[in-house]
């Protein structure tokens, strides 16, 4: 009988957990007019540790999850996260994938790209776009600082989940064998 391979599900559920936690943080930050966006962190483990198929499934599902709860054209996050995933995947054999420092650096860069891309897409609706950039800059700064603290925990959470399930993230083989 063919063994079920839940790697994409593990990563997707971890992303769902973080998405919910960040939503909670934003709920409590709302009176202070500060917002956190951590989209960049969702693709890192999927792109650097999983195989291409499972990584893409987890990334696409996470993109759909984000799009469903935000007022952007449905599919925007799928495209943006997919681009980050494809970029990392195409050059990952050259990257030092082990260790969390590289993951933190990449998540910072990915989040920066996603944040700026979304800002260019959405800032046009503002009555004073020039003024909106100041607020966007503060949100970006807060998000990058948040990622600095979240990334080590989040990457470790995904790695530990795979260990608990005794699955090698890249090959899908059982670790006990």
């Amino acid at each position: 009988m063919r063994r079920r391979d839940p790697r994409w599900l593990v990563v997707f559920l971890a992303n769902l957990l973080l998405w919910w936690l960040v939503g909670l943080a934003n709920n409590y930050l709302a009176p202070h007019a500060v917002h956190l966006y951590v989209g960049g962190i969702f693709t890192i483990y999927a792109a650097l540790q999983l195989d291409a198929k499972h990584g893409l499934i987890a990334t696409v599902l996470t993109g759909l999850l984000i799009d469903a709860g935000t007022p952007v054209p449905f599919g925007t996050s799928v495209v943006l996260l997919g681009l980050v995933h494809a970029t990392l995947l195409s050059g990952r054999h050259r990257f030092p994938r082990e260790g969390s420092v590289f993951g933190i650096v990449v998540s910072q860069l990915a989040n920066l790209f996603l944040f700026i891309a979304l800002s260019f897409l959405l800032v046009g609706a503002n009555p004073r776009p020039a003024g909106a950039w100041l607020r966007i800059f503060v949100d970006l700064l807060a998000s990058q600082v948040a990622i600095l603290f979240i990334a080590p925990w989040f990457l470790a959470l995904q790695a530990r989940s795979m260990e608990l399930l005794r699955i090698h993230p890249e090959t899908g083989r059982s670790l006990s064998s």
Binding site: L29, L56, T87, P127, R128, G131, R135
Partner: protein
């Protein structure tokens, strides 16, 4: 064996194929996918507000009997005050109907008031939204006005089974026909001036040039009733500045909004009784 250059481009090709499939997917499937992915996270969105309710419940249970008696006295005073206001409202409504019939005026839009708890707030530089804990299960329609004791909160933009999403008055995508209190010239209001660590603000356009407003002498902005969604006279905010617009025909300026919008825990949705009148 495929050349190495193709191997590196393969992730992009795969993504291209996925995106092509996505583009060719029928709209009905995309709508279904969006609703499904929202409903997946809906229990998580509302969970926190239910925990908060439970927290408040147990905190209230800890109050002493003396404190409850004192609060009861205050509430009974308020009830008497509101009972008088309700009576006065009924008289005024009867007077309005009498005048409408006398002058052959179209009747004012009627609403059912649906109180709803706020499940989650999401205020960014890109959008300002909140999710409330009532949806199609309470007959909430898309486009329904949402208000609180301080005036307009926003407009329902998405309705799900047990939740609804409200686009707030502070959002850049929120536009509304307004007027200065005591005047009937229509003015355009738009949200979106949300500086970090500052109270929310909005903008007004097409203000007649004879109006002035400063930080010390503000003008009260209310809904005009035009556009058919919001009833007239609901408070929006205070106009704090007005300047001549580039065309010289009108003035434009800034509106200071109620700071409590960022901390709301309960709002009221105005559900139209006769949607075809809207």
């Amino acid at each position: 064996m495929l050349p190495k250059r193709f191997d590196q481009a393969r992730p992009f090709l795969t993504l291209g194929v996925v995106l092509l499939v996505w583009l060719l997917l029928p709209l009905v499937l995309k709508t279904f996918a969006r609703a499904t992915f929202f409903e997946i996270q809906a229990p998580l969105i509302v969970a926190d507000s239910f925990v908060e309710d439970l927290d408040t419940f147990w905190a209230n249970r800890l109050h002493s009997k003396d404190e409850l008696l004192k609060a009861g006295k205050q509430v009974s005073g308020l009830i008497a005050e509101y009972a008088f206001s309700t009576q006065r409202n009924k008289e005024l409504e009867a007077e309005i109907i009498r005048l409408e019939n006398l002058l052959n005026l179209p009747s004012m839009p009627a609403f059912r008031y649906e109180a709803a708890r706020v499940a989650q707030r999401d205020f960014s530089g890109w959008w300002s939204r909140m999710t409330i804990r009532k949806g199609s299960n309470y007959g909430i329609p898309v486009g329904a006005p949402v208000v609180f004791s301080g005036g307009v909160v926003g407009r329902v933009v998405e309705v799900h089974r047990y939740t609804a999403v409200v686009d707030l008055i502070t959002s850049p995508t929120f536009r509304l026909a307004a007027s200065i209190s005591g005047d009937n010239h229509p003015i355009s209001y738009q949200g979106g001036l949300n500086d970090a660590f500052q109270p929310p603000r909005g903008t007004v356009e097409y203000v007649p040039v004879d109006f002035t407003a400063t930080r010390t002498a503000t003008r009260h902005l209310v809904t005009s009733g035009l556009g058919g969604v919001f009833p007239a006279g609901l408070s929006i905010g205070e106009i704090t500045s007005l300047e001549i617009s580039p065309d010289g025909l009108f003035k434009s300026g800034e509106v200071s909004l109620d700071e409590r919008i960022g901390e709301l825990t309960e709002v009221t949705v105005l559900v139209p009784l006769n949607p075809e009148d809207q």
